[in-house]
């Protein structure tokens, strides 16, 4: 590779879910990453959440694998407890100076065992649990924290020395000093997240005065199984379960008085989620949500809202709460509000304030240090076409720092920012990453097992309960065990050296460690034996701490016996372990992008910038997609100019081949090795596929006189007329939610409210006397778009809310349009006779999605949009690897969000396309062909479409199953379905698991003695 003048490293500032995603994408595509976090552990706000909407997934369950992957990644360096002080240089070559505050614990020695905190005499409030719980002065932020290193809270520590004495690893270092660092990187991504609005500023709700008024994030911790009451909803004043809970929305959002005019975008959904979970935790709890507009605008959100109402019986009241007062006797709270003009009061046991999102406290400092601009609301400024770029070239942004947003949008942006960061320094890819070299592996297949067992004391964590010497002694008596040893900490650096030495000295060909959990420590030990020349799969663990000494602390005899059993089981499996090879798959480093709209073009251009050959297929006669029909953008930018410049760039880029006016006949293959055939006969070979097939505006079938009266048109049709100056008359009525939020199309189309505001404002700008009415159900101008709603209202647009069950009635009165609607606020019927009736119709998937889905084995939802691999954390991926989705094909959304997703697919695709080969999972299904008769029972059990019935080449007329290791994820679901025992899972074979079962149920030696 030619020497690059750029630096092949990226700094990511902020280690929440956004920073994790950016870091993992970059490190997986050939860049060195420095992840700087101001707290001692990464994880950010998501780590505090109990569940996530709209799937109610456990937040920690889905996040922990990413935390661990980040902590372990060979090319990600974590710099925690640190701040950025100075950024010099320019894009491609920055020098970042920072300070790492002292943890007062040596991170290289701390094993995270927690003995220090058990003994620390100082208790203080626990920020992770929003002060609903206490922690010690020496602490780790949360149990699954990465890195799992304790630190001393300098403000609380009294320096008594107990922790230092308690720490057998000698990690406590009271004299540790602050450290300066200076790092050279090519690009920077800022993702510092957000702060919550301080509800004390809304004094009328009594937060901080009344004990039973809590913030939504406090309730999140109360609901959590790891929270103060293990998930039971108990109110702070007396620990009673509150019968009625009030949720007050928009606390610190949509509120000029507190200076936050924007909508925080996530609170409606998180309050519904918290209400559902509270109800699930205590069946008699009755939640009631007080809101102004219900903004459930995301994918599947409206259905979630409907379920909350219909299935969970959660009550919703459309009203802004005026005040909250406490009954001093009962500590109950009296909520005063106005509903339909009538003042009301109601008593609740607990009041939850749905606090909005603020820019992080250090936003201004960060913007000064890094030299980029903030917007009027104090968030990072971005552009309509550049959603992840700051005003400083080479510095990118993602997550809630650029605007309040939910996790899926954050994760997509994080990948998008990673793509932009990588493009700038693409020439320096693979220059700073290191690949570890290991000695040649010993072939152990013909050797009798020689097992070494290392039993850990874990300071006193195991040794204080379990009789470790007797466990080690017992291990010696087991067949094939030729060496045993006890360690104070088996995970410490010196023990790793010891293990390697013992492997050599005793010719060990299997290693068993009895200590903590393989979830966190298996890779460490696997790496150690790899360094000693053993295949990493010749390793097994017995979990005698987390699942033994810690849960049977008062039963030393039973815990010791259990430890022996667990060691015996591990040894039994170990005897049958085999070396496994991580198979490699060749990668064709070209990309296919389906769809030549804005998203498809942005995706193709960005891939091309990273040196990838791109094939862009568009079925229409020209590039541009929906943007050709979009005449206005709220930001004031010209969409036509943008789309034309994109098309010009695409057609002149030497790395992009376009196939205009062509459709796809078939796609075959798997990650790294796809083959696409066009109807016109051309064949394309490529390694990844991005689906950017767009969507389309819904055209009603006669509803509201559409197609019957020329004055009735859709929003896009109207905007075209307005642009051309063809709109007639001076009176306009907009009807919202046409073809959205109703039977058959239950979800919200997200963009129509703001689109209506843009049109209404344009009308008023041209003719301030025009009569403009908007008939709506909820106005959903989330985020900064709220200002367009406000502007429209200020310009004199009249908003009339109609009830969900009382749609407006439109009639043709001799060619004139008559609209009758009942105003929900006044219950009075309003009759309007507009010259123009504009229908804000929903977004539908584009034609042809249904044919593409089966070719790629990817799922489609009932509404016709593609269904991603995981709604929260894999928003642009499919379960089928190497296939990605962006833009309207995924669901309705705004242009900037579409672009963000398009960029995200680039980053995801580059984790494949930047390599010449991919390593498949080691633990995969494998087939013994002699037993397979091709019955196919296994095929439907595979969620990853890795199994396929093919003709048996060895036997004419017979069939068998083909396992595609490129697609197999190693779950093992197919093996249980195989009736002939032909399928097995490497690393978890039937024999190995049966050996563990048998060993668990074996009569042990000491037991036999007792019986005799």
């Amino acid at each position: 590779m030619a020497a690059s003048d750029k630096t092949g490293a990226v700094m990511v500032v902020g280690g929440g879910i956004s920073g994790l995603q950016s870091a993992l994408d970059l490190a997986d595509s050939g860049f060195k990453v420095y992840l700087v976090e101001k707290q001692p552990s990464i994880g950010g706000a998501m780590a505090q959440l109990d569940k996530t909407f709209p799937t109610n997934d456990c937040a920690m369950c889905i996040m922990a694998p990413k935390l661990v992957a980040t902590g372990r990644h060979h090319n990600i360096e974590l710099i925690t407890n640190a701040d950025i002080v100075k950024v010099d240089g320019q894009e491609g070559n920055f020098t970042v100076t920072g300070k790492q505050r002292a943890l007062r614990v040596d991170a290289s020695k701390c094993t995270g065992c927690g003995s220090c905190a058990q003994k620390c005499p100082i208790e203080t409030t626990d920020e992770y649990n929003e002060n609903t719980k206490v922690r010690k002065a020496i602490f780790v932020k949360y149990p699954q924290a990465v890195p799992l290193v304790y630190s001393i809270d300098q403000d609380k520590c009294i320096g008594c020395g107990i922790c230092a004495e308690e720490c057998k690893a000698d990690a406590v270092d009271y004299d540790q000093k602050e450290k300066d660092f200076e790092i050279k990187v090519g690009s920077i991504i800022v993702s510092p997240g957000f702060d919550e609005f301080d509800p004390r500023l809304k004094a009328e709700y009594g937060y901080g005065v009344y004990q039973n008024v809590v913030s939504s994030i406090e309730l999140e911790r109360i609901l959590s199984a790891t929270g103060p009451h293990f998930g039971t909803v108990l109110r702070p004043s007396d620990g009673d379960i509150p019968e009625k809970i009030a949720f007050i929305q928009c606390v610190g959002s949509r509120d000029e008085k507190v200076g936050n005019e924007y909508c925080s975008g996530v609170c409606c959904m998180y309050s519904i989620k918290e209400a559902i979970i509270a109800k699930e935790h205590g069946g008699n709890i009755k939640p009631k949500i007080f809101f102004m507009d219900m903004r459930t605008f995301g994918k599947e959100f409206e259905e979630y809202y409907n379920r909350a109402k219909d299935e969970y019986g959660i009550e919703f009241v459309r009203s802004r709460v005026a005040s909250v007062f406490e009954d001093p006797e009962t500590k109950n709270l009296i909520v005063s509000y106005v509903e339909k003009g009538e003042p009301k009061e109601e008593e609740f046991g607990l009041v939850v304030l749905a606090v909005g999102l603020r820019p992080p406290e250090d936003a201004e400092a960060l913007s000064k240090v890094m030299n980029f601009s903030l917007n009027d609301d104090g968030f990072c400024e971005t552009g309509a076409f550049t959603p992840v770029s700051t005003s400083r070239p080479g510095v990118f942004v993602s997550g809630a720092f650029s605007s309040p947003k939910d996790i899926p949008m954050t994760v997509a942006e994080a990948s998008g920012a990673a793509a932009k960061a990588a493009s700038e320094i693409s020439s320096a890819r693979n220059t700073l990453v290191t690949k570890k070299e290991y000695p040649a592996e010993t072939d152990v297949s013909e050797q009798e097992p020689r097992i070494g067992v290392f039993v850990c004391h874990c300071g006193i964590n195991i040794g204080g309960v379990v009789n470790v010497p007797s466990v080690a002694e017992y291990a010696k008596s087991l067949p094939n065990v030729v060496y045993t040893e006890e360690n104070l900490y088996t995970c410490s650096q010196d023990t790793q050296e010891k293990i390697k030495q013992m492997v050599k000295e005793h010719n060990l060909n299997r290693v068993v460690v009895a200590s903590c959990t393989p979830r966190t420590h298996e890779p460490l030990f696997q790496n150690t034996i790899k360094e000693a020349g053993l295949n990493p799969y010749l390793f097994e663990m017995a979990n005698i701490r987390d699942q033994c000494s810690w849960i049977h602390m008062h039963e030393p005899t039973a815990a010791t016996k259990k430890s022996k059993d667990l060691v015996r089981m591990a040894v039994a499996k170990s005897r049958l372990l085999e070396s496994l090879e991580n198979l490699t798959i060749d990668v064709n480093q070209q990309a296919l992008v389906v769809g030549g709209g804005a998203v498809g073009m942005v995706t193709a251009l960005e891939l091309a910038k990273q040196g990838v050959k791109v094939h862009l297929v568009e079925k229409e006669k020209e590039l541009g997609g929906n943007l050709l029909k979009l005449h206005y953008l709220q930001s004031g930018d010209d969409p036509m100019e943008y789309v034309q410049s994109l098309a010009k760039e695409v057609t002149s880029d030497p790395n992009i081949t376009t196939y205009i006016g062509k459709t796809i006949k078939d796609i075959d293959g798997y990650v790294g090795n796809f083959k696409t055939t066009l109807e016109s006969g051309e064949e394309i070979e490529h390694g990844t596929v991005t689906l950017a097939v767009g969507g389309q505006e819904y055209k009603p079938d006669g509803e509201y006189l559409y197609g019957k009266n020329p004055g009735v048109m859709t929003l896009l049709e109207f905007k075209a007329k307005l642009k051309r100056g063809e709109a007639k008359g001076d009176s306009y009525v907009f009807i919202q939610c046409v073809g959205s939020r109703e039977d058959g199309h239950p979800n919200c189309s997200r963009v129509c409210c703001a689109g209506t505001m843009t049109a209404a404002i344009k009308i008023k700008e041209k003719d301030p006397d025009a009569k403009v009415f908007v008939l709506y159900r909820d106005i959903r101008t989330y985020g900064f778009r709220e200002k367009y709603y406000k502007e429209a209202a200020e310009k004199g647009v009249t908003f009339i809310r109609f009830d969900d069950d009382a749609k407006p009635v439109v009639e043709d009165k001799g060619g004139k349009i008559e609209v009758r609607v009942t105003d929900e606020d006044t219950d009075k019927e309003v009759v309007l006779t507009p010259d123009n009736l504009v229908l804000a119709t929903g977004t539908r998937p584009s034609d042809g999605s249904e044919e593409l889905a089966p070719m790629l084995k990817v799922p489609i939802m009932k509404e016709g949009f593609f269904l991603e691999a995981h709604m929260k954390l894999r928003p642009v991926d499919f379960a089928t690897e190497g296939v990605y989705v962006a833009g309207l094909a995924h669901g309705p959304k705004f242009l900037d969000e579409c672009i963000g997703q398009g960029l995200a697919t680039v980053s995801r695709a580059m984790t494949v396309l930047s390599k010449t080969t991919l390593e498949a999972e080691g633990i995969v299904a494998s087939l013994d062909e002699t037993f397979c008769d091709g019955c196919g029972l296994c095929v439907p059990t595979c969620e990853y479409k890795a199994l396929e019935i093919v003709p048996n080449e060895k036997e004419e007329g017979k069939k068998l199953v083909d396992v595609n290791v490129g697609l197999c994820k190693g779950c093992g679901a197919c093996i249980g379905a195989c009736p002939s025992g032909a399928l097995t899972q490497k690393g978890f074979s039937d024999e190995q698991i049966v050996a563990m079962i048998d060993a668990a149920l074996e009569e042990t030696a000491d037991k036999q003695e007792v019986k005799q």
Binding site: C61, Q547, T557, G976
Partner: protein, 153 residues
């Protein structure tokens, strides 16, 4: 906390004469095994008679494993997986649910109380649910008594 841990003394006494059930717990790697670990991190106490076998997905629990355990004299088998919709492998746990329902019918035909086989959804955040499950399952098995195949210890 509703810990039903016998204290050390009663444990020592129980050893040798009283019924000590043998229980095998299959935990999926991503949710339930992590939940069991969290129970440990949170120091939640529970009866010590179970042994965990880790599998990548609860759907890996071959019916053969369960039958083998009963054949070898296990007193109870618990299979723990991710909650519906939480499965790391998308839908493995739904298959587990069907398999366990069938297996319960099958072991009954072999003369085992079907309650000796239980399926539970335990997430990575539910250390306490793991503890409660182990307490209640151990109690159930103690009530049913030793396996007809000669269980107990």
């Amino acid at each position: 906390m509703s810990s039903a841990t016998p204290n050390a003394q009663s444990q020592e006494k129980a050893e040798g004469d009283d019924f000590e059930p043998k229980i095998i717990v299959f935990c999926c790697n991503w949710c339930s095994y992590a939940g069991a670990d969290l129970a440990g991190v949170s120091r939640l106490q529970m009866p010590p008679h179970f042994r965990v076998i880790r599998v990548m997905c609860s759907a890996r629990v071959d019916p053969e494993f369960v039958l083998r355990a009963f054949q070898k004299g296990v007193d109870g088998v618990l299979v723990a997986g991710c909650h519906p919709a939480d499965c790391h492998y998308i839908g493995g746990n739904y298959r587990t649910r069907r398999r366990i329902a069938l297996l319960r019918m099958l072991i009954q035909q072999f003369g085992f109380d079907p309650d000796r086989l239980r399926l539970e959804w335990i997430s990575a955040g539910e250390g306490e649910k793991f503890q409660k499950t182990m307490v209640s399952f151990t109690k159930t098995i103690e009530e049913i008594g030793p396996s007809p195949m000669g269980g107990g210890d």
